[in-house]
């Protein structure tokens, strides 16, 4: 089957199950998706794509559903919406031809990571003699003795800026398609609060969500929070370091008890623990409500972020030894891969989910 045919099948399936849900409505108390569904009598492509991104895959509705397989209606909302989400990620990816990177994404992430590492190590080999790479450096500029400051900044900033732009364009196009009005501060603060607290992984009364069976647990919410906040702390570390470098002329590496290193250390530990926790939960999850086609994409991002975290922490631990050069290259190679893959991996879910939460906040405000 071509991907266009699959896409329309997924849309048809999402519409079929949404119509059943809309005639039942028992799940209204679980999350934002079901109350949002009741605002429609018929489901066009945009409404389904909005609902798909509002769904956090908490699986509460699957376990509560009297129409879940093996019932002949075979209602499996988490699976149907997860599959549709994958189509949304591809549909609005920018630039268009890169959308195919989101297919067989596990493979794509592996290849891009390997190529990034290869590129960094080749550069190192080409630009530096082995003594510089393999000997210990210390004091300000130690990193740049291995990889030049200009080169590092040029590669990092160009890839990061391109990826951020690509991600933002995707989010913008999705927001346009679901008719999101310019968000107000109220919308932003509500959606921001929903993201910060991961409200919809908390289920009812903060009982949590379902992973392996019909019992409720907050584990997924906690690990996802660790991963998200860890990631944001790492990002903050990079921003502070940039200010140090360009505004105050302070040259990395910084001492352990400095803002960038502390932020990076806590962030890296949080990100690492979060990713390990999410990988374990995913591995133990009931496969029934999951979308098999999404597994590669899900695991790939978690492993990549775990690699970012681990290589960064090992680099920190061993930065005064002769292993620093190779570890720096390894870390930068993984980070480069992540930067390149931001708009072409599961990472995009953060952007689309936020847009959907904004739309939800808006429709609660403007019924």
């Amino acid at each position: 089957m071509t991907s266009a045919v699959i896409a329309s099948d997924r849309l048809t399936e999402a519409r079929r199950v949404a119509e059943i849900c809309n005639a039942c409505r028992y799940c209204e108390g679980f999350c934002a998706t079901f109350p949002a569904m009741t605002q429609y009598r018929t489901f066009d492509e945009a409404s389904l794509e909005y609902l798909a991104n509002l769904c956090h895959n908490c699986n509460a509705c699957y376990h509560a559903c009297q129409y879940a397989p093996p019932h002949e209606f075979g209602v499996n909302i988490p699976q149907a919406l997860a599959e549709l989400r994958a189509d949304v990620y591809e549909k609005w990816a920018w630039p268009g031809p890169f959308a195919r990177l989101l297919e067989r994404n596990g493979l794509v992430v592996s290849v891009v990571t390997a190529l990034s590492l290869g590129a960094i190590f080749s550069l190192l080999l080409y630009l530096q003699d082995s003594t510089a790479v393999l000997s210990a450096h210390d004091g300000p500029g130690a990193f740049y003795a291995v990889i030049g400051h200009g080169l590092m900044v040029a590669v990092a900033s160009s890839t990061f800026l391109f990826s951020t732009l690509a991600l933002a364009i995707g989010m913008y196009r999705f927001a346009q398609s679901i008719d999101l009005k310019p968000p107000t501060w109220v919308d932003l603060s509500r959606a921001g609060h929903d993201v910060a607290s991961m409200r919809y992984l908390g289920g009812h009364d903060n009982d949590g969500c379902n992973t392996s069976d019909a019992s409720f647990s907050n584990a997924r919410r906690i690990y996802h929070q660790l991963a998200m906040w860890g990631f944001l702390l790492c990002f903050a570390a990079t921003c502070v370091a940039t200010v140090y470098d360009y505004v105050f002329g302070l040259v990395a590496p910084y001492p352990f008890f400095s803002i960038p290193v502390l932020l990076g250390t806590f962030g890296g530990v949080g990100l690492g623990i979060g990713c390990i926790g999410l990988l374990v939960i995913k591995h133990k999850s009931d496969p029934q409500p999951m979308a098999a086609s999404q597994r590669g994409m899900d695991y790939a991002l978690l492993v990549l972020l775990l690699a970012v975290s681990l290589t960064g922490l090992i680099l920190l631990a061993l930065r005064e030894t002769s292993a620093m050069g190779l570890l720096l290259a390894l870390h930068l190679g993984v980070v480069l891969a992540f930067f390149l893959l931001m708009p072409y991996s599961k990472f995009v879910h953060a952007g689309y989910r936020f847009v959907a939460l904004l739309k939800n906040a808006q429709s609660e405000r403007l019924p």
């Binding site: 005639a23 409505r25 108390g29 129409y67």
Partner: protein, 464 residues
């Protein structure tokens, strides 16, 4: 660990037959007093729970507003509601007991993991009288099963009880069939909570004749009445009329079994309903739909071929909840008639006569308005608008049976009574299999789950 699901204990204190809400309440209550309890559910694990899977609330007395219920609902009002729908055909002492015990039931369930939520959108009329289960009945079952297994109730699936052995007037053992192998479990007592007989096509045909073949069963296909028949044959007293049941008019395109809530249609008050010969047969606008939908199952059951069609025009399509099957649509009434196999002339004549009888009023789809017919038989008392704005739509209706009321007669200890009126000491019944004690006819939304929970708890505590 090897699969032990085919190995049954030689003896237990209590066998609970059935796996729905009533069965769980009985099993948990008995187990909490220390009894060894086995629960035998005939359905596979994914379809466990009988009709409780399809429910969404229970009716409960409360003195003050709760976190999920508004206002107050006092016992006398519950009693009035019950006597009105049953027209007094109820066992007053059992009904009063059920009403009084409905109040602590909610707390009891909540303490065992059941979660409640405010009334669903579109059911606000029940916000005061009914406690809604978060996620519906299957979520309630999941919580109760988790609790039952945590306190070591031995819960078994695919385990159909095929016989109850009664020695010297008391239950001595049950026979259970699992994978075509029959095992005998010696039992200190038994609670029958295995539902009505509506899914037993043969039995339904005995009661209703060939019309039964056109009935749809809204809930579980596993309620075949095996226990009911077994115990009536062993001299237990029956209660209720075999033709009485909870029957609503549902979409005729729903599956034969298990279509549940989504096969419901809410369009009836906003148009007219005709039978296969194109004639109206009842006041579609008699009252608001939640108060009338339970009579329409029997109305449709008495029409030729047990089918009817709700006919509406394009003015009113937004006035009711969306349903799962799309309406049959046509640009003219004649074309619509052809699409549903009704003679075009007959439908046009019925609609024409109806339209001429409509007197002007101010249309209010949400309340009892003054749009009605004059001089028409049968009248339409509210929401009568001429059917004249194409395209026209039809929804086919069939009787949808929820559960039958013929049951085992019980006393206030939920003990099953013999034909001579004496209680069978260690045999109890709860849920739909004894709901006929309370419901001689008619229905109040959510009362089935209240009967199940209350008599389940009574059976569980009386049995130990």
């Amino acid at each position: 660990m090897p699969d032990q699901s085919h190995v049954f204990p030689k003896a237990v204190d209590l066998v609970v037959v059935g796996g729905g809400h009533a069965a769980l309440c009985a099993a948990i209550t008995a187990r909490e007093t220390g009894a060894r309890v086995i629960l035998l559910e005939s359905a596979p694990i994914d379809m466990r729970g009988g009709n409780s899977r399809h429910t969404r609330n229970l009716r409960a007395v409360h003195q003050l507003p709760t976190s999920t219920m508004s206002g107050s609902y006092l016992a006398d009002e519950f009693w009035d509601d019950l006597t009105r729908v049953t027209d007094g055909r109820t066992d007053a002492s059992l009904a009063r007991l059920m009403i009084d015990e409905s109040e602590p039931l909610r707390e009891w369930l909540a303490a065992r993991g059941v979660r409640f939520q405010p009334a669903l959108k579109g059911t606000l009329g029940l916000a005061r009288t009914n406690a809604f289960f978060l996620g519906g009945g299957k979520a309630l079952l999941n919580a109760l099963y988790a609790h039952a297994e945590a306190i070591d109730v031995d819960c078994r699936w695919d385990a159909e009880v095929c016989d109850i052995q009664i020695d010297q007037g008391e239950v001595s053992a049950v026979q259970v069939k699992y994978n075509a192998t029959i095992s005998t479990i010696a039992a200190g007592g038994a609670v029958i909570a295995s539902g009505g007989f509506q899914s037993n096509t043969q039995w339904m045909r005995e009661v209703w004749g060939p019309a039964a073949d056109n009935f749809l069963i809204r809930g579980t296909p596993y309620n075949t009445g095996t226990m009911l028949r077994c115990l009536l044959d062993k001299g237990m007293a029956s209660v209720g009329d075999p033709t009485q049941c909870h029957a609503v008019a549902i979409d005729a395109r729903a599956p034969k079994f298990d279509g549940g809530i989504v096969s419901r249609l809410d369009c009836v008050p906003f148009g007219i309903v005709v039978n296969q010969v194109g004639e109206r047969f009842y006041d579609e606008g008699e009252d608001v739909w939640p108060k009338r939908y339970a009579i329409w199952g029997r109305l449709v059951a008495s029409q030729p071929e047990q089918i009817a069609y709700s006919i509406i025009d394009s003015k009113v399509t937004e006035n009711f909840m969306p349903s799962v099957y799309p309406a049959i649509e046509a640009p003219t009434l004649a074309a619509l008639a052809s699409a549903i196999g009704v003679a075009p002339d007959a439908l046009e004549e019925t609609v024409g006569e109806f339209n001429r009888s409509v007197i002007p009023g101010s249309y209010e789809p949400g309340s009892l308005d003054d749009c009605r017919t004059l001089g028409l038989e049968p009248a339409k008392s509210h929401w009568a608008l001429p059917i004249d704005a194409p395209p026209f739509f039809a929804y086919p209706l069939r009787p949808g049976i929820t559960f039958t009321y013929l049951g085992l007669r019980v006393n206030e200890n939920a003990q099953v009574l013999r034909v001579d009126g004496t209680p069978c000491g260690n045999l109890f019944a709860a849920g739909e299999v004894m709901a006929g004690n309370i419901l001689g006819q008619g229905y109040c939304a959510g009362i089935g789950m209240t009967i199940g929970g209350v008599f389940g708890r009574i059976a569980g505590s009386s049995s130990v």
